[in-house]
Symmetry: C2
Subunit: 195 residues, 2 copies
Amino acid sequence: MHGAVMDIGPYTFDQFKEKAKEFHGFPAPGLMLGAYMVEYAKTLMPEDAVYDAVVETGKCLPDAVQLLTMLSVGNNWMKVVDLGRYALSLYDKQTGAGWRVYVDPAKLKEWPLIESWLLKTVPKKEQDTEALLAQIQAAGHTVCSSQPIQIHSRFLEPAEKRDIVLCPQCGEYYPLQHGNVCRGCQGSELYNHRG
Amino acid sequence: MHGAVMDIGPYTFDQFKEKAKEFHGFPAPGLMLGAYMVEYAKTLMPEDAVYDAVVETGKCLPDAVQLLTMLSVGNNWMKVVDLGRYALSLYDKQTGAGWRVYVDPAKLKEWPLIESWLLKTVPKKEQDTEALLAQIQAAGHTVCSSQPIQIHSRFLEPAEKRDIVLCPQCGEYYPLQHGNVCRGCQGSELYNHRG
């Protein structure tokens, strides 16, 4: 439809589908679209930039970041802040300057299957996933726009030094900064019952 | 020290170190200990169980879950709730019954390097990382205890159906359930500036 098919960084679309399946369980449309978004964002950053990421949705897109960069939830170089928007930003760790890539509603008009998937206007059972993935592959990052950003300074502050102490209630270690007992014992609504 | 060296699921310790480096940037002590914790938790679940995970810290441990299960932040089968405790739970998706594995302060007494690393009593520069990793390898999951849990029912509820609409302020799509404008436009403190 739109000329040559785009690769996803070092991967072909099909190779990345395999990686997605291995890590995420299945090649979710959001992960495949997200992969193009991550690779596009990378091209916008200066070549020598050392960057972190913030992802504005918890759905699929964080896994694209984790698979295509060294940033992860566990190393804390990727933050997820659920704003409900299909967007991510990469920013220089030192200066906070970077680029945001987001799905642009105007650009979706040419890709009705991507649009109806994102808007959830077609019930999942009736979704033609193969046709949707074909549109995602054909569109690549052209359904996105980008804008320069300056990340909020709170993302650049060094992690505070935490004092690790025993919780007097559960007897496990926790950061004293959380309070006099750990957050679990403060009532986290995580468990109905612990044996 | 404590008999035979434990593998990490299908991996030797050194093989998993390589996987950790690839995904996480380096074989962080927390990720290596976390790997033993995840494998231990898996052995406690019934063989045919279909389970999700909740991790009680954002530090390293989520990446062990992501590398050793099909659960990830992006597919939402792993949730991270920062209680500041080095612990994770696996639970049956249907019944919510499962097992929690946590670092047991009493069991750390035999492993001074693991204890001082967890308590951050030794400055990072003075930490002997090789010796620490050797203790983690020798200890495996024996520094942990486990307990049966029943996950809070809110984790078992199906995701609510969201209506995706255009934000009248930024013009991007967002879930109407978040409010009349998207959370980004409500003031998320994510960016100081967007171009």
